[in-house]
Amino acid sequence: MISFRPTAEENRLLQTARDFAREQIRPQARLAEELRQVPQPLLHQASDLGFFLLELPEWMDGLEFPLTTQVQVLEELAYGDLGILQGFPGTADASSFFRLLSENPQIKNSQCSASGCGFGFLDAVSWTSEWGQSLRLERVAHGYELNGHSQPIRLAHQVAGIIACFRDEDGEWLVLLLHQSETPWTVLAGDIRLGLLAAGCGRISFDAVWVPEHAVLARGEEAQLLVEQALSRIYIRQAAAEVGLAKAALDYTVEYTAQRQAFGQPIAQFQGVSFLVADMEMEQRAVHHLVWRAAAATDLGQENAFQYALEAILRSHRAVSFVTNHAVQLLGGHGFVQEYPVEKWMRDAQAQVMLYGCESQFLNQLGERTVSGQNYNRSTLTVK
């Protein structure tokens, strides 16, 4: 049944998220940016409302919501402020790995509770491993030795645990659970100014640290499948957040251009303005549906779910860049100054796009599979 109608239960949840985003998140967006972290009272409120638990599995005391529900909530929260959403620990990307893993005592007994300090996610196997980092994982007695610096990752300054994806010197895929108490790291003093400043982005540095054997959550083909499935969920959730930001920028632009006068009339009366706003709406709606479809396909475990996830993140990157850029453009000089929110949204959008994959990477991945006719999800394999 083709339907775009949320359930009654989802509608109630969305109303809560909507109110929280507009009444609590949005007013504190600038403060969070200045503090370079989400204000503690806001963190507590979000935690109390359960927004950190959406993706986490029940065995970690999470809500384990379907992705179709999550993407709607994430859109609402990002509408308030993407920077703050990305600074929420429970919404971090590592939660998608936990979702896919069956009950794991290492994780459950760790110092990091589900809604507390959270985990970071360090991806050293996909495109981000090809430049801008120097990580090396080498086998030693009873484990591995880890050296080098990562690319900037979200929540680097906050987390005490990291889910890390590597390939060792033999090319074998590994998914590791690193605890700072066991595998100490430092966060490099960086100089990040662009956007998502409340998300605590930073580079992780390891100096010949030992990674014990028991830190390996998955290896080989199982690890590769786990990474692909987790990335699929991460892409969909991040694309949903981008849809929310795009919607915020669009709505703000509509209101502003309806009021702003030039040549004796609201500038919306000029088709050069209103047609561009219509394009922003079309782009936002197009990606919105792609995200929902990817979420629905993933919930159903469909074969083409990973393809849909790639399509969603590819289009959402374009859409959020397009909409936030034109929001600044249509506000003119006001768009460029910090009295108005759109300049921040454009910066946040660009930082977000840089953190979550580049267009050519997605196109290449999609293209190879499209033309070769390869299945998008090796569903015969299961993650233990």
Partner: protein, 410 residues
């Protein structure tokens, strides 16, 4: 619940229409384009098979239109019960994939169906929609556009002067699909140009009515197998009983029903169908070119990598446009206002389909000029960014709806 899964009935319709498109339309596609017509014997054959261009108006006699829409029904019940808009876009994508020009030539009420279904009296629905039977192919048509008024519906100049027992129509219509062969045409005219939209009336003008002629068929860039006619009305007498909805409806609802509203409501129903056909055309070009690249391109090097990426991007664009048409159709099934969504899907699909056909031709290179289907699809698809309201009109509608929410009329 949010879902993009087709029901068994929807899958059945999709598969059946696709089978027809592949086995009956495609084999005559290039020939029909070359001859500027669809063979008569083929039309007789498909009419006997009960195939017609499906628009929501085509379901005039179905269970759902007779029984749908009680006030106590929940949205969930309604969305399961009424599916004609969703079925129409699913079917339209497949016939667009088969051949868009032949699709528009399929017998049936065509775009004339929705206004009769939406605004006609019970007697009019029976009289005009019951003629579509397997014994002989028949067509309906929709006459709105004039030389001086296309997307600006409010600017139509065809007049309808009240006389005893009916109206005298005078004026000209252009770009009317199946206008010459149609058994009847829904024609929009004004009882007084200065009354603006309130003066608009919709009539059903039957073939052979004195004063009604369709002397010329347009020669076109694409869609060559589809008949596009000019209609002339010279003191053409149309009886009262052919005024769509009847005189009483206009008098009883002075601020409600008008020819303008009939035209606009029709667009909200037909634009998703047109958009779905554009999606089908784009998919046809994409699939043809994907096969071409697999067969012809060397499997390494920059050209191959770039072609793969372009094809992947095309698929994403097609998927996005399809979902927008589904949303507009779904809203139509639920009787939700969908003017903005209908305009969005039409604008996005029309633009996307042209870009994809152009991109496919670029991937094929010079050989694409010579006897390949995509070249024809490229010529066909341009009009999908024009008819049923140009892209610019769709932008205007979308913008108006957005600014209405903040209290500004643009």
């Amino acid at each position: 619940m949010i879902s993009f899964e087709l029901t068994p009935q929807q899958k059945q319709v999709r598969d059946l229409v696709h089978w027809f498109a592949e086995s009956e339309m495609r084999p005559i596609s290039l020939q029909a384009d070359a001859e500027h017509r669809v063979p008569d014997e083929w039309l007789v054959k498909v009419n006997r098979m009960g195939i017609s261009l499906s628009t929501p108006g085509s379901q005039a006699h179905t269970h759902e239109s007779k029984n749908g829409g009680s006030k106590t029904e929940t949205l969930e019940q309604r969305e399961q019960k009424k599916q004609s808009n969703r079925l129409s876009v699913i079917a339209a994508e497949e016939v667009g994939w088969g051949d868009p020009a032949i699709a528009l030539t399929l017998p049936g009420p065509g775009l004339g169906g929705p206004p009769i279904l939406a605004s006609g009296t019970a007697e009019q629905k029976q009289r005009f929609l019951s003629i579509f039977t397997p014994d002989e192919p028949r067509w309906g048509a929709y006459g709105l556009t004039e030389p001086g008024a296309g997307s600006d519906v409010a600017g139509i100049r065809t007049t309808a002067r009240k006389v005893d027992g009916g109206y005298l129509l005078n004026g000209q219509k252009i770009f009317i699909t199946n206008g010459q062969r149609a058994s009847w045409v829904v024609v929009f005219a004004t009882i007084h140009p200065e009354m603006g939209r309130a003066g608009h009336r919709a009539f059903v003008v039957e073939k052979g009515t004195p004063g009604f002629s369709s002397p010329r068929i347009a020669q076109k860039m694409g869609m060559r197998a589809s008949e596009t006619a000019e209609l002339f009305f010279e003191d053409c007498f149309v009886p009262d009983e052919n005024l769509l909805g009847g005189e009483e409806a206009y008098q009883a609802r002075q601020n409600g029903l008008s020819g303008f509203r009939v035209a606009m409501a029709t667009f909200d129903t037909t634009r998703p169908v047109v958009a779905a056909m554009a999606v089908g055309i784009a998919r046809a070009a994409y699939e043809y070119t994907l096969d071409f690249v697999r067969r012809e391109y060397p499997k390494n090097g920059k050209s191959y990598t770039m072609a793969c990426a372009q094809l992947a991007n095309m698929r994403q664009e097609i998927d996005a446009a399809r979902l927008l048409t589904w949303e507009a159709a779904w809203m139509g099934d639920l009787s939700m206002p969908n003017a903005k969504e209908a305009a969005v899907c039409k604008a996005v699909a029309g633009k996307m389909a042209l870009e994809i056909c152009a991109g496919c031709l670029n991937l094929m290179g010079p050989i694409g000029l010579d006897g390949h289907l995509v070249e024809k699809l490229y010529r066909d698809v341009k009009v999908y960014d024009i008819f049923e309201g140009t892209s610019q009109i769709q932008h205007l509608i979308v913008a108006r709806r957005l600014y209405e929410q903040v209290g500004l009329r643009i």
